[in-house]
Structures are given as C-alpha cells and as structure tokens.
Amino acid sequence: MVDTAVAETAIGREPRRRVPRLNVLTGVVCGLILAGAGWGVSSWLLSAGDYGADRVVSITMVCWAVGFLVGVGALAGPIRWLLGRDLSVADEHVLAGKDQGVGRYFRFTTDHKVVGVQYLVLSMTLFGVGGLLAMLIRTQLIRPGARFVSPQTYNTIVGMHGIIMIIGTIIMVSGPFGNFILPIMIGARDMAFPRLNALSFWLICAAVPVLLATFFFGGIPTGWSVYAPLSDQAPAGMDCFLITIIIFAISSGIAGVNITTTAVKMRARGMTWTRTPIFVFGTVSSVALGVIAFPMFMAAMVLEGLNRTTGTVFYDAAHGGSAWLYAHLFWLMGHPEVYVILLPAFAAVLELTPVFARKPLFSFLGAVTGIAGIIGLSMFVWAHHMFISGWAPALDGPFMLTTELISIPTGLLILVLLGTLWRGTVWMRLPVMATFAMLWNFIIGGITGIYLSDVPVDQAMHGSMFVTAHFHFTLMGGALTGFAGALAYWFPKMTGRMLDERLGMIGFWIIQIGFNVTFLGMFAVGLAGQPRRVADYPSLFATGNLVSSIGAYIIGSGALIYLYAVVHSWRHGRRAPGNPWGAKTLEWQVPTPVPLENFTVLPVVTSDFYGYGEGGSAAPTPAPRRIAAPVPSGAAATTQEGGTA
C-alpha cells in the first residue's frame, strides 16, 4: 500500500483511478454505442446500391470493435502518452491488476499470468461452441436424408465449426501457456510488451461477437476456406467473417511479435539457446510462423471485402482477376497454419514427457532440428491443396516432394518422444497420457497425410471425407490431445489446485476412444467416395456415417467430463504444492500462486532443465544480489514479496 500512496501524491488521484474503472462491461457498452452510431451514419449515407448492405454491416462491425477496445481501456496507455502524462510505475501496477482480486480477469490487465488465464478460458469457450456445432453436424449426418437443419444452416454450421475451432486451436497453447508459463520458464518478470499482450487478447474478444454475428446476417455458405467467387454470392454474414479474420490476424501478429521478443531478449542469465526448454522453441516457432502466415489471409480478406463493398474484381476471371489468386493467398496461410497449431502442442508434450519418464529429453538437438525443419518446409507446400485445381500441373511433382519431405523432421520429433520414453520410469499421471494418445493418433494422421501428398491418390481423395478425417487426426488427435496434456500438466501452477486425476483420466480416454471411432468411420466413407461438407449423402455411406455420429457423441460426453473435472478442480480441487511433478524447469521453482512479477530474485541458469537421473540438482542457482536485470513495465526497482491469487 506504500507504493499506492506514493503514486497518488506523485501523479494525482484522478488519472490513476480512471484506468481500473474500465472493464469488459464498459467495453461492451462503448462498443454498442459506437456500433449504433456507425450503423446510423452508414445507413444514412452509404446504404444505396448493390453494395449498401455490405458497407453498413462492415462499418458497423469495425465500429463495434474499435468502441469495445476503447471502452475496455486498451487505449489508455497511448492516450495518456499523447496527453504527455505517460504511465508511472504505480500506474503500471494498477494496469497489471495489483491487488484487484477476481476483477482483474475482466479488465485490460497487463500481467502475463492474467492474460494467460483469460486466454485459457477463451479458448475453452471457443471449443465449447465449436464442439456444439460439431455435434449438430454429426446429428445432421446421422442417417441419409436427415433434415435436422436446412442446407443453408448446415453450410453455415460447417464453416463456423471450422473457423471457431481454428481460432480456438491457434490460441490454445500459445495463448494460455505461452503467456502464463513461458515468461516464468525463461526467468522473466513479464512479457516484453505487457500492454500489447493484453491488446492481443482483447482484440480476439472484440472479434468473437463479430464472428457470432455471422449467424444473424445470413450465415456463410462457403466453409471456413471462403473460396471466391462463392464468397461474392454470400449474404452479409460474410462481411462479419472478413472483419473477424482481419482483427484476428492483427491480434496474432501482435501476440507473435511479443512472444518472440520475450523469448529472444528476456531469458535469464545463463539460459543459452541450448539450455532453453523445448516448449519455448515450439511456441516461438509457431507464433513467428504465424506472423508470416496470417497477413496472407488478412490480405485475402481485405481484397474480398473490397470486392463486396466497392465492386472490385480481384477474384473474378471474367474481369481479369483470378479465383486461384484467392486460393493461393488462403493456402499460403492455410498450410503453415496447421503447424502454427500443432507445434506448440507437440512441444508441450516434448516438455512434459521427460518429467514423467524421469529421463532427459532424448536428443534436444534432434527436437530443435525437427521443429526448424517443419517450420522451413511448411512455407513451401501450400500448393498441395491445389493439386486438382488445374492451376499448374507441372508443379505437381515439386510440391509432392516438399510435402513428403515434411515426414522426415516430423519423424525426428516422434523419435525424440520414443527415445525419451525408452527405458524410462514412466510415472502414470494424467499429463503423460497425452504422449501415448498423441503417438497413436499422430501416426495415423501422418500416414494418411502421406497418401494425400501423392498426386494420383489425391485425385481420388481430395475434397472427400478422407481429408476431413486426416486433418482431424493431426489437429484434434495430435494438437488438441497435446493441449489436454499441457492443461493437466500446468493446471496446478496456473490455478493453484490439482486437476482431479480420476475424472480427468475418464474424460480423456473417453474422448480418445470416441475420437478414433468417429474418424476411423470417416476414413471409411471417404475412401468409398463421400465428399466432405455435404448436408446429405447417398445411402451407400449410411453405416460409416452412423458410426461417426455415435463416436462424436462419445467425444461430446468425454469432453463434458473433462470440462467438469477442470471446472470443479479449479474451484474445489486439492491445493497444489509449488512443484507437484518434481519438474526442473523454472516455472515450478516459483511459489504457487505465482506472485506479481514472478521472481523476487532473477535466477541464473547453469545447466539445461532435463538432467533427470544425472545426479545433482538442476534447479537454477539464484544469484541473491542480482535484481537489476531488465524488467518490463518500468517496474525496475520494485521487488514484490507477494501477490494476490
């Protein structure tokens, strides 16, 4: 409280109070007001003509997003700076949520741990919505001729399931664990740019209502790939979709730059690259790849938005444009994006496996090489999504080669997992279950990917349910499984409580069984020739689809159990000790709950963190007198003795 008193005399009462009073509610109110204003003005001035409705919807949605961000306090820092009253240290502490209790989770809070928890809740909410839509899809497809929803609604549901899950999985590891865990793991007191960190989160919060508004403006009939020129025909729901993607691309760019800078510049003394935990490599590779990839999607959406609101013809072949241009921009993002999703989840599994096998990571260098190889190659494979587009048959061979080459670094990562398990003493706790499930699922996902990389086989399989089953095996069976493991692993540190192991195990394995039933059935109908994204199908495919739908309901019930385990443990779980797994990385060496600014004394690292069974303790040596290390938020000289949970 001494700090606060000093701050009040230093900068006066009013400016300090103005920051924390804003929260998500003021954001919504401000967003709605500005959206209403935008809607009124644009319908008065711009609603005439062919493009009127699209203009009005686009402007309204942009106004909502801007209003929401202003109302939630995202611009408090820049505005104060423009006014010549830049934030003081005490202001930064208020902004970081010091002594604000639960309320700080509903504010523009810069503490990386708050942002991490916010991301966790957001991504799990998105999984809830996306999963519900998946249940609707499988209900529609439970038997041929079912008319559970109309084809129009069905197409919208398919597209929304896709994009919600894509956003949810992109943020699921880099968001919660990249924000909460990564800075502690590298021995930093916060992210490099705490305000940008909060901004990246609240941008997504601004985008999600826009995305959900799609349902109320006619939906999208295009799937989440929104291929042109079908997207030109779409109702105004498409404009909501475009705005969502543009906002999300900005958010992921900001988050990517922030996490990358943090990991490059703010590692503890002595933490050379070879002593940096593998999770940091996976997350940084992923978000840095996202920084390169997402602007492509954003550009594609900007051009499509111009087509829809001003009548440009970027994707219209009859007027000199090209539909293939859209496909290229989309897949230049689309293929790196699957590695943006996969790598941090895979790296989390690589991080937790040594802890539970009580062995060093088998070939750290191999793991880093694997990640780097995947990142490098992922930029050169996009056109395998266009083998049958007729775009350039002469390039089929080269893209087949680059795609198949990816199996080599991926295989290296599998080897590292197997080598880490090899002759280990595998402690059978919930997190390590993800390792086993991933080794099963990802082998299936990887092998079926090899079929699709082969051009002749792709001529039979492209656009079929086989593709759908394949990428669910990699993204759900691989990445989402890795997320479930990472959540179980870091749950004690993030919430201060142990995750209910029994319920968690039951939920986890029910999900895995249901998952395999669902998508093995889908492989069968795909091989037999069922196109994907269909609202109905011939009776030939009835058995496989029934199996898939039953499997989907099994996944749904397993997910509910896992969710219950998470929510219940979060509120009533057993109190977690600081280091329940006996792990060696830095995040387990700080107390739980983690105090504001994490470390009273910044650690000095003298070895890597995988020295299990090598004798001696790999716990870092704290250097008692070194507290003047670079610290963000201008909070340099303060050493926090405690913090609020």
Binding site: D316, R358, S363, S407, T425
Partner: protein, 265 residues
C-alpha cells in the same frame, strides 16, 4: 553440471561394465509386440483400403488403389515400431503412485547410431514415395498411342453438370455417356463458382473454375454406371450436385450421341 547435448553412451564409464547397454533394453518383448502388430496390420493394409475404394473402372483408378495398398504396406512396420515402443512403455516401464519414482531413469541423451539410422530410413521411405508417385503420374504409353481422344466439354453450374460433345456435331446432354476403352479428354469449366468434377470409380477429379478451362483424361475400361459428384463446396445444394456416368459399347454410344440435341451456336 555441464550442458551435455552430445551423445552420452548408455553404459557410461563407471557404470556396470559387464552388461552392454542393448542387453539391458527389453528388445525381445518389444520385438514381440512389433511382430504381433505387423501380423494384424498387414492384412488390414492389403485388403481394407482397396476394398473400401470399390471396383475401379479405369486403369488410372487401379493405379491409385495399388498406390494406397503399397503405401499402407510400407507404413505397417513404421506404425508397428512406434506403437510397439509406446505399448511397451505403458506396460513395462510404468510407475504408479502419487509420488514421483524414487529412482530416476538412465540419462540417455541421444544415440547417434539410432538417429542416423532413423533419418536414413525415413529419407529412403520418402524417396520411395516420390518415385512411386511420379511413376503413377507419368502418362501411360498406351493412352498416348491410342489416337485422338474423345473430347467432352464439362460445365458445372449451381447445382448441376452439363456435357457437350464437340467431336460429335456439338451434341449436348445433361448426363454423361462414354464409350468403353476409348480415351477421353474432359475440358472442364464452370459458369458461376468453383466446382470439382469427380468421377469416383475412375479416379478423375479436376476443379471446374469460372473463366478457366482445366483438363483431365481417362480411359474407362468397364461397362456400367458410375458416380459423378461435386467435390468442392459450391453453395446451398452442393450435396445434391451429383449424377452418373454410363459407360457403354462404342456402337451404343454412337447411336446415343446421334439422338442428342445439337448446340445452336
């Protein structure tokens, strides 16, 4: 403690020198699981995917089915190896209880031989895939020497297919009929959005793009009725954009195409 990333031999100097490292590893049970998995997966790979894909109606589709079978067979040992180690680690190396194991496991930090063998094997497999794929992709000599292919114009529009026969006096039809054993070249385009022209049993698939014409070739070699489906989401009734192709004898085809209306332009 030093930062050891280089290979640490499994039996480090100072450890028990009598038993070499590989003997301490449970090679026999893992090999057993591996053999059992291979025995289960090999018949699956041999018969199940090809059976699901159904009877082919062109040499091209038979090539695709044999590719799927070959890739499945090649991946059997890979999957079996990974799963054998995984399964054994669950059974043989597990430690139960709420406390971490008292004794930590041997600190194996990489093994150069294993890593090199693994990389070489995966590269060889990759090369096999590439060469196989290029070989199937190569135009077959028989198709090239069979003379002029029958040209068929395919036009997609929401949500139907129409067909034109420019070699047969611009006959047009709303269903596809093809003569057996005659090479066919499809010239595919669209009037509105992107569709994808897919003859399931012939392994023919190419996008129908508005404003562009794309090509696909096939020689149907079985008389019968086969499925055409749209394989690219094209809007409201995408699911119902399907029809059939009838493969008939050359004589039947000639009389059928005579009876079709002619395009006016």
């Amino acid at each position: 403690m030093t930062d050891t990333l280089t290979t640490a031999p499994a039996d480090a100097p100072g450890g028990p020198p009598t038993v070499p490292a590989w003997k301490r590893a449970p090679i026999a049970p893992i090999l057993g699981i591996f053999v059992v998995l291979c025995a289960l997966l090999t018949p699956f790979a041999l018969f199940v995917p090809a059976h699901l894909m159904g009877d082919a109606a062109s040499a091209h589709m038979r090539g695709i089915e044999s590719t799927v079978t070959a890739f499945s067979l090649a991946s059997v040992p890979v999957a079996a190896l990974v799963w054998a180690v995984t399964i054994y680690s669950i059974i043989g190396w597990r430690h139960r209880g709420s406390e971490p194991p008292a004794e930590e496991a041997p600190p194996l930090r990489g093994n150069t031989v294993v890593q090199v063998v693994w990389l070489v094997l995966s590269s060889v497999l990759c090369l096999f895939l590439l060469i196989w794929g290029l070989a199937v992709l190569r135009p077959t000599p028989s198709a090239a020497s069979a003379g002029q292919p029958l040209m068929v114009e395919v036009t997609g529009q929401q949500w139907t297919w129409s067909f034109g026969y420019p070699d047969n006096g611009n006959a047009t039809a709303d269903r596809l009929v093809l003569p057996v054993n005659q090479p066919v070249q499809f010239r595919v385009t669209s009037k509105d959005v992107i569709h994808s022209f897919w003859i399931v049993q012939m392994g023919v698939k190419v996008d129908a793009n508005p404003g562009e014409t794309t090509l696909a070739s096939v020689t149907p070699d079985r008389i019968g009725t086969f499925d055409i489906r749209c394989a690219e989401l094209c809007g409201l009734y995408h699911a119902y954009m399907q029809t059939t192709v009838q493969v008939v004898s050359a004589d039947q085809f000639a009389s059928w195409v005579q009876a079709q209306p002619r395009a006016t332009s």
